[in-house]
């Protein structure tokens, strides 16, 4: 199977109270075509830092990132912008990731127009995407504050899909949503994965969600990957102490 993302020895440190703190300590993993990889662990274990380094929103200090076989960690300017054709992100609070003064439809169209698509074409495509994420076309005319969290998250997923990326990184994308809405978003992601053979990196702390959606899971603890396997393997037969605590904490 084709490898979409390959990460080797990724490392990042921060200063915390004037002391050096290693957020991500030389981790390596890969995401295959059409695979959904889960990344779980508690707050501060380095999950989001990893996501930010992969998407180049944060510089890695050491290590290499290959996206579709190309090294991306040293790209700059136009070439750096080019990687976002292949990799897109969905964040925890969708309302914050849309321009508050811009309608949702325009937010979704922006990336396509930046890629040289005409406004008319972009609009047609935007309406298709809205349909794909099961949003009524009327929502294109609304502002982020005029829709619910779940509707806004659907729009954020539509926006991520607009450029037809090979990988989307979902950072706690369902954590802020109500359970009923979360269930709908999970169904939507499953459908998209099936229909578009999308690769996903799902960052969350909800093991039940990971078991439901992911093909493989990595457990992170204090900047290191402590366990790896299929969700069933990891949940039913955890090897590391931390993984056991994490599983016992699911009420």
């Amino acid at each position: 199977m084709q490898t979409i993302l390959e990460v080797r020895g990724l490392k990042r440190t921060f200063y915390k109270d004037k002391e050096l703190f290693t957020a991500v300590n030389g981790i390596s993993f890969e995401v295959k075509k059409g695979e959904c990889l889960g990344l779980v662990g508690e707050s501060g274990c380095g999950k989001s830092t990893t996501a930010k380094m992969i998407t180049r929103l944060l510089e890695a200090e050491e290590g290499t990132i290959y996206l579709n076989g190309k090294e991306i960690q040293n790209l700059k300017g136009r070439k750096l912008r080019g990687i976002y054709d292949d990799i897109q992100m969905v964040f925890q609070t969708p309302q914050d990731s849309f321009d508050p003064r811009c309608k949702l439809g325009d937010g979704i169209m922006e990336s396509m127009i930046n890629h040289g698509m005409t406004r008319v074409k972009a609009k047609t495509r935007m309406l298709e995407l809205m349909q794909m994420v099961e949003l009524d076309s009327g929502f294109a005319e609304r502002y982020p504050h005029q829709v619910s969290g779940g509707q806004c998250q659907r729009a954020a997923i539509a926006r991520a899909l607009a450029v037809e990326p090979s990988l989307i990184v979902l950072d706690e994308a369902t954590s802020a949503l109500d359970v009923t809405v979360q269930a709908q978003i999970v169904e939507l992601l499953k459908k998209l994965q099936r229909e578009m053979n999308l690769s996903m990196l799902l960052i969350c702390h909800d093991l039940a969600l990971v078991q439901n959606l992911c093909d493989r899971v990595l457990v992170m603890y204090q900047g290191n990957i402590v366990e790896e396997g299929t969700p069933d393997e990891v949940i039913q037969n955890p090897k590391e102490e931390y993984t056991k605590i994490l599983i016992d904490s699911v009420l």
Partner: protein, 271 residues
């Protein structure tokens, strides 16, 4: 006038009794005809989605609706005493020793420029005439019961120096130090990691075992309710759609919305 101290003798009265309560914000009803009863020491879980009115109900019982909100119909009784009649001093005396509250983000509800210890003294001294040493001992004892080792350091800390989970424990300690009969908890674990959430939930159940405190917990986490509650109230668009024991409601839901809600909960398969 009926004051709270006289009615505390009505031992047989329910701990909390909501009778056909309607709550409005700016004269628009947001909670309709809500009735429920809590026995002393009972844990009630109130579930539902954002905007369903869960938090509004406990705010009404605590008298925290603010200027724009009001109970427009029905009555709320605490041990047979109508809390809606309580005003000023009377309400102030009830909040704390009788009815305590824990918020979602205790760190934000504390003063950022004073340490935990000073704020603890201030809140306890509003209700009891005790020495600072005794308050300190009680606080450390509670931390001890929550199996937190360095209570003394926590007391000396400022809210921003503590993690979210630690701040929530401070919230539980500050509410429990007055030994309330009824504790309202508004999404007390929603902002926490699963591992920390599990600890906080266990500590709250432990507090009930130790002090017989009744707890009304608002949450959207069905797992938390299933673990700790005796009874559950399901709210949808301001209405109480289902109310009963955890066994009845969670394992055998009757209403369409409850079925959808329970069906949406992702379960972990431990094999």
């Amino acid at each position: 006038m009926d004051t709270f101290t006289e009615t505390t003798r009505k031992e047989e009265a329910p701990l909390l009794d909501l009778q056909h309560v309607e709550i409005s914000y700016n004269r628009i009803p947001v909670v309709h005809d809500m009735s429920l009863k809590m026995k002393p020491g009972e844990i009630l879980g109130i579930v539902g989605e954002s905007g369903s009115g869960k938090s509004t109900v406990i705010k009404a019982a605590m008298g925290l609706l603010g200027k724009n909100g009001a109970v427009t119909r029905g009555d709320i009784y605490y041990k047979g005493f109508n809390v809606l009649d309580a005003k000023g001093e009377e309400l102030r005396r009830m909040r704390g020793p009788q009815m305590g509250m824990i918020f979602q983000n205790t760190g934000a509800s504390l003063c950022p420029i004073r340490n935990i210890e000073e704020q603890l003294y201030e809140s306890v001294l509003q209700h009891e005439e005790v020495s600072r040493q005794e308050i300190r001992d009680r606080a450390l004892d509670l931390f001890d019961k929550m199996k937190l080792k360095d209570g003394a350091r926590i007391l000396k800390s400022y809210p921003f120096e503590l993690s979210g989970g630690m701040n929530q424990r401070v919230g539980i300690m500050m509410a429990m130090v007055l030994k309330p009969k009824l504790l309202f908890a508004d999404e007390p674990t929603s902002a926490l990691d699963v591992t920390v959430q599990a600890q906080v939930v266990r500590e709250m159940v432990h507090m009930r075992e130790l002090f017989g405190t009744g707890i009304a917990i608002v949450t959207h986490n069905i797992g938390v309710v299933e673990y700790m509650a005796d009874k559950v109230a399901v709210m949808y668009q301001g209405n109480l759609v289902e109310y009963g024991t955890v066994k009845d409601v969670i394992y055998n839901p009757q209403e369409a919305y409850t079925k959808k809600l329970i069906g949406s909960v992702l379960r972990i398969n431990r094999g």
